[in-house]
């Protein structure tokens, strides 16, 4: 996977949202550090899962890739070119290549438009598929996502949550994009609909050789659909690896805790596996902890080093990165988990 030409490169991306404190004080130095210097890339045809809890910056990252918000610093490159400074025309072309599937299939579809016109909307804006060809394309897309071609004249309220999410996916596919960003695509769905949407995502991805960035808090969903996983905590990447590596050889204590907290419906596995109950709450991204941002809750806290020095994201095994002082004494690609201090 690593040898593939990256389609999307995220380089030292930072997003700080300045906060006003009180009416007259104006914008001070205070800012929500939503994303704080992260880098990763997404290979052509690869599905990358971005996981973490609320406030970790996963959605903000996705939105910067979509060029919906402007980074404070750093850049996103698409097909080798930075998207920071696109002309209006280039931006329109970019919008054709990247599409998004939203979390809430209820509020993301216009209730006054028929499903057919919702799906045709991106084609209208981009001037693709005129007249009868556009109607044919709408019908084709409906069938592609498992709905009936006759449903083009229906309104969104006539569909269930899972079916609405299919409509969202059909809309995203309308312009034959290269890249799709899915923001919590199954979080608001029932289990049966969730399974249908996850299978659909897998199918369209192999059928159209799509590159997908999927943001979710659900680690079992990520394992099912992704090739590679990026784990974030408070605006930082704490671990990044291929899905099988991450799930079999979890390195970072936060990833481990996250893994153990995923409820699985298998009571036997539930009894056997490691149960890590983290102390405390997720700290405020307004004032993240010093050193390693996870040190306030870390079950493997080493002492001063964690509190004072921010761990670097280092490649511990080929393709397996983590930012943790537990692995600091492994200068090259070895796997010792000693707790030696940095000095």
């Amino acid at each position: 996977m690593g040898e593939r030409q990256p389609l999307v490169e995220v380089k030292n991306l930072v997003k700080h949202f300045p906060v006003r404190r009180g009416l007259f004080r104006g914008k001070g130095a205070l800012a929500v550090r939503a994303v704080d210097d992260i880098s990763f890339d997404i290979g052509q045809g690869e599905t990358v899962g971005l996981v973490g809890e609320s406030g970790c910056g996963k959605t903000t990252t996705g939105r910067m890739v979509m060029r919906l918000i402007t980074p404070t610093s750093g850049e996103v490159c698409f097909e080798g070119r930075s998207i920071n400074a696109l002309s209006a025309e280039e931006e329109k072309l970019y919008r054709r290549k990247v599409q998004m599937v939203f979390q809430d299939p209820y509020s993301s579809l216009n209730p006054r438009m028929t499903v057919g016109s919702i799906i045709a909307y991106p084609m209208r804006i981009q001037g693709e598929y005129a007249g009868a060809a556009r109607d044919a394309r709408v019908r084709e897309l409906l069938e592609l996502v498992g709905l009936s071609r006759y449903q083009a004249s229906w309104y969104p309220h006539e569909f269930s949550g899972g079916e609405r999410q299919r409509i969202g996916i059909a809309t995203a596919l309308a312009l034959n994009p290269r890249f799709i960003f899915c923001d919590e695509p199954v979080a608001s769905l029932d289990v049966s609909a969730q399974a249908q949407i996850l299978n659909l995502l897998k199918d369209i991805r192999s059928e159209f050789n799509l590159t997908i960035l999927i943001v979710t808090h659900n680690l079992s969903v990520v394992e099912y659909v992704s090739d590679r996983v990026v784990v974030m905590y408070l605006g930082k990447i704490v671990e990044m690896a291929s899905t099988s590596d991450l799930y079999r050889h979890t390195l970072h204590p936060y990833s481990r805790a996250l893994m153990s907290a995923i409820p699985t419906p298998d009571p036997e596995a539930e009894q056997q596996r490691e149960q890590i109950v983290l102390r405390g709450e997720i700290p405020s991204p307004l004032d993240p902890p010093s050193g390693c941002r996870f040190h306030t809750r870390c079950p493997a806290y080493l002492g001063d080093v964690c509190r004072e020095i921010e761990p670097e994201l280092r490649e511990i095994q080929p393709g397996h990165f983590t930012a943790c002082h537990l692995y600091a004494s492994t200068p090259t690609l070895a796997t010792t988990a000693s707790g030696a201090r940095l000095n």
Binding site: Y224, T264, I282
Partner: protein, 327 residues
């Protein structure tokens, strides 16, 4: 953990029917539901949205909003039928012997009162405590639910707390009068997984320490596996299957339970393709005559569609409503 088999259960719901009587149709949200909760037991009620789980909660507290009505059945609490009680008697029970935690903690807490006032309110009302005694007890309750620095937190307002802390406060309010039964309606869906883990851990500890029974309503079978002793699988306002959590999730007998499990991604087995449940849940205003799951079932036969299927007790603490159960 099946506690006290010979003692009568704390709660027995028998053939409960809660309907919403609309102008032109009747929405049958709860449709002949029966189950029991033992003392000190954590019972999970699991099902998809629209199964009637939340209406069940409201029915048990007799808080079903208009035009909904409990039209049949009995809810025995400590042997006495709640449906025969006066509104005055119910007020004495709610928040006292039976208390409830809702899905969205921020909407259930009053933004205009401090946390201490809200916990203290039920103590002053139900236990006739003085203001200062109630405040002290409120502090103890906050400590019990694992809130650090409880004395200081008493003076906080709801918006000053995180989602996990708010849910802990809700649990503290619910625990204030030592309830025999705690009803929790999807209380962790709005929380992050690591915080959910803390809350599940807390509920288990509290059950062990205080001996209360818990009715935990959820759509997440994973949460059921982590927390509950027994589980009831609900569909279209009926019990489809009930039994020990381990047995039901390991060897589901009802095709619906089986499909619910098959539809979930399993940690560690990403190669297993998910099997979605085809079709949609039935419209509660227009339920099919036979088994409500028949239109979506892989084992369906002609009898399933034509005759009403009874919930059959299979002896080993399990019950299943199916003509062709799995072995």
């Amino acid at each position: 953990m099946s506690t006290a088999v010979d003692l009568p259960p704390l709660v027995e719901v028998q053939d409960l029917h809660t309907h919403f009587l609309l102008k032109k149709k009747v929405v049958r949200a709860i449709n002949g539901l029966s189950f029991s909760v033992g003392r000190g037991e954590i019972l999970g009620i699991a099902g998809e949205s629209g199964a009637g789980k939340s209406v069940l909660c409201l029915s048990m507290l007799r808080l079903v909003p208009q035009p909904g009505r409990i039209v049949g059945g009995r809810i025995l609490f400590e042997g006495k039928d709640l449906l025969g009680k006066s509104e005055h008697e119910m007020r004495g029970l709610r928040g006292q012997a039976i208390s409830m935690v809702f899905e969205d903690p921020l909407n259930s807490l009053d933004p205009a009162f401090t946390v201490g006032d809200q916990i203290g309110e039920s103590l002053m009302l139900h236990k006739a405590m003085t203001r200062s005694a109630a405040r002290q007890k409120a502090g103890e309750l906050l400590r019990l639910v694992g809130i650090p620095d409880p004395e200081r937190r008493l003076d906080n307002y709801a918006h000053e707390l995180s989602g996990g802390m708010q849910q802990r406060v809700m649990i503290a309010v619910a625990l204030s009068c030592d309830p025999a039964l705690l009803i929790a309606d999807n209380p962790t869906t709005a929380l992050d997984v690591t915080i959910q883990m803390q809350i599940l851990d807390l509920v288990k500890q509290l059950r062990d320490r205080l001996g209360m029974a818990v009715l935990w309503i959820t759509h997440d079978l994973g949460v059921v596996a982590k927390l509950c002793d027994r589980v009831v699988i609900m569909y279209a306002g009926k019990v489809m299957e009930a039994g020990d959590v381990y047995d039901v999730l390991k060897r589901p007998r009802h095709p619906y339970t089986r499909r619910l499990i098959d539809a979930l991604p399993k940690l560690g087995h990403p190669e297993q393709r998910l099997i979605p449940i085809q079709g949609r849940p039935p419209n509660p205003a227009d339920l099919p005559e036979g088994c409500p799951f028949a239109p979506r079932c892989y084992k369906v036969t002609a009898e399933c569609r034509s005759q009403a299927v009874e919930l059959v007790d299979t002896g080993d603490g399990r019950a299943v409503r199916c003509l062709h159960p799995e072995e």
